[in-house]
């Protein structure tokens, strides 16, 4: 169990700055997920924590102790790689016990610790196999077992499920959650899959362009994003963003008008003066067809998209359409298929609308 403090960490490769002034505090026993698109710096940050990469500026402290210059093997961290990184010429047993062998642990100790880890991960019958004779999921468990044997203070996972098929990924996510519950060790997990992030994390760190965009509990980030990037990245399908100009501002409301939304007055306390353009954000899950939601919403926004594409998924259907003015809109119906016409009438609860300013920052009403 260990607290990790990342203080003003920056990293540059030549002139390219890949991490900019990262500040994070990870509490002992927390399961933290770094999520973001490819190239956002999440893996680089993980490698800096592990010691495989040197930082350009800043400090990393584990339980208050500075670990900047400490050898990776001596930091008290263990890492599970995306490609498993198992040693192909050694058995699963030797893979898991290798760090202890290098530390000259007695054979009995190695056997005991490997057996413990194998028991947790249900690998008892696979210990004499080489990685070539294991399936993807089994290899991943051996890689996790190799990390467990080291009894680290912090587990680091670098997109460990990316190479697995969808069904196995779901199964492994459940196993990781159980493992965390059992070991109660601090875990840092890197992924580009926001579904994985939402399901695994105690705390989510959304990154983009080497900068932390937002940090918090998954549902907090989902319901209350700080900016357009976070709002669009978290949640699938992506949040709809519709442009509008601010027409009138009153103490308790704001009136906006846009080609897709028409004229709309929204309840909003203390809307900041001087804001000319806004982006209206609505999640597809908050927009339905008029027939299904008629009468259910007091203050509603009506939109008239022309259907371009229907994603029929069996239990729900996502309808993609074009609004007047050319903006795209995605809405959801709870029917497994769509058999209506091309001209749609969509309805959304105005209370679910989020507003963002011209820089993409979220505009929040004062409470």
């Amino acid at each position: 169990m260990a607290q990790l403090d990342i203080v003003h960490v920056s990293k540059a490769f030549g002139d390219a700055e890949v991490l900019r002034d990262i500040n994070l505090q990870i509490s002992s026993g927390e399961f933290v997920v770094f999520v973001g698109p490819s190239g956002c710096g999440k893996s680089t940050l993980l490698r800096i924590i592990s010691g495989l990469e040197e930082l350009s500026r800043g400090e990393i402290r584990l339980d208050g102790q500075l670990i900047n210059g400490i050898d990776p093997a001596k930091r008290g961290v263990a890492m599970v790689f995306q490609s498993y990184a198992l040693y192909p010429h050694m058995t699963a047993f030797d893979n898991m016990g290798f760090s202890l062998k290098l530390a000259r642990s007695p054979k009995r100790t190695i056997a005991q610790k490997v057996a413990n880890a194998a028991g947790i991960l249900r690998l008892e019958k696979l210990l004499e196999r080489r990685p070539g004779a294991l399936s993807g999921g089994q290899k991943q468990r051996v890689a996790i077992g190799r990390a467990i044997v080291r009894e680290p203070k912090v587990f680091l996972f670098d997109e460990p499920l990316s190479n697995l098929d969808a069904e196995l990924r779901v199964q492994m996510r459940a196993e990781l959650t159980q493992l965390h519950g059992r070991l109660k060790t601090t875990m840092i997990y890197v992924t580009h899959d926001q579904v994985e992030a939402m399901t695994l994390a105690d705390k989510m760190v959304v990154m983009n362009g080497g900068v932390v965009q937002q940090c918090g509990r998954p549902l907090e980030i989902y319901d209350d994003p700080d900016n357009m990037f976070v709002a669009g990245f978290i949640g699938s399908p992506r949040m709809n963003f519709l442009k509008a100009a601010v027409i009138d501002v009153a103490p308790d409301n704001v009136t906006v008008e846009g080609p897709g939304v028409g004229r709309l007055t929204l309840a909003f306390r203390d809307f900041p003066a001087g804001t000319g353009q806004v982006a209206i954000g609505i999640r597809p899950q908050r927009i339905g067809l008029l027939g299904a939601r008629e009468g259910a919403i007091a203050n509603r926004l009506e939109l008239s998209p022309t259907l371009t594409f229907a994603e029929e998924l069996g239990d729900v259907t996502y309808l993609h359409g074009d609004l007047p003015g050319g903006e795209r809109l995605v809405l959801r119906t709870l029917d497994g298929h769509y058999s209506g016409g091309r001209q749609l009438t969509a309805v959304a609860d105005a209370a679910s609308i989020l507003l963002f300013d011209e820089t993409g920052r979220r505009i929040r009403p004062t409470i």
């Binding site: 495989l52 990776p72 093997a73 490609s83 990184a85 040693y87």
Partner: protein
Amino acid sequence: MSGVGVIANVEPSLTPSRDSARWPTVSAWTILKWAIALCAVVVAIFPIWWMVNVVFAHPGEPVSINPRLYPTSLTAGLEKIRMILAETDYLRAYYTSLAYSLLTIAGVLLIGSMAAFEFALFEFPGKRVMFAVVMVSLMVPTAVTIVPTYLLTAKLGWLNTMQGLVVPGLASAFGLFMLIQFMKSLPREMLEAARLDGATHFQLYLYFALPLSRNALVTLAILTFMRTWGNFTWPLIVAPNPEIYTVGQVVGLFNSPFSHQTVDVVMTANLLAALPPLIFFLIFQRKIVEGIAMSGSKG
């Protein structure tokens, strides 16, 4: 409609020809290709076959009025082999060549693998320049370097010594290039995992680079053996003392105009010299071909 009428209506092309099914046509071009291939095989194999034929026959029998193209006397051949091994210094030359080959192989693999490990997987100052210099050395013919190398060896006092034979051949640019190409394909994440497990730099080399490069190392060992066993020029220059003659030099003595040995004895000496690489090649031919291909194509 009658059955006879139905058969009569069938298209002629759909009726299989009995003759063509039994006798496939053979074109003149196929015969010519096979004839050329057989000629090439005969040209390649005949010298070795003739050597075996002369050795395992009574003296003069293969070229007598009634010549034989096949071995006629196993005992005569074995007697000649026994005579050469027991009554000349051939056996000592065998040991010298074996030691020369094995020590060269060990040195080439050790030095080459260590250097390739650094070049392939790590960055260090001057790496590009050093690699370029080593690769340029591949283009310098042996004839240019053999005299300076001899003078250096002589100055070190290594004439007529095993180290004089072995040491100049330990830095193999070709071997280094081949191993670098192979080690570049080792997964970096695996090395990082080993670093996190606590492996030192040397342990990365010992526990990962070496075992995972086994195929390339075996191939290099085979190619090095083929090179050293048949090496005649360098041992001739640096080891003129008969005590340290290699097989190549001893066979040269048998072949010389002043050897006073009959043809069958000379052939026996040559056969004994050719035997190890022949057996080696027959066992490892696939690896040898892979090695030649790997050195040229892996990028």
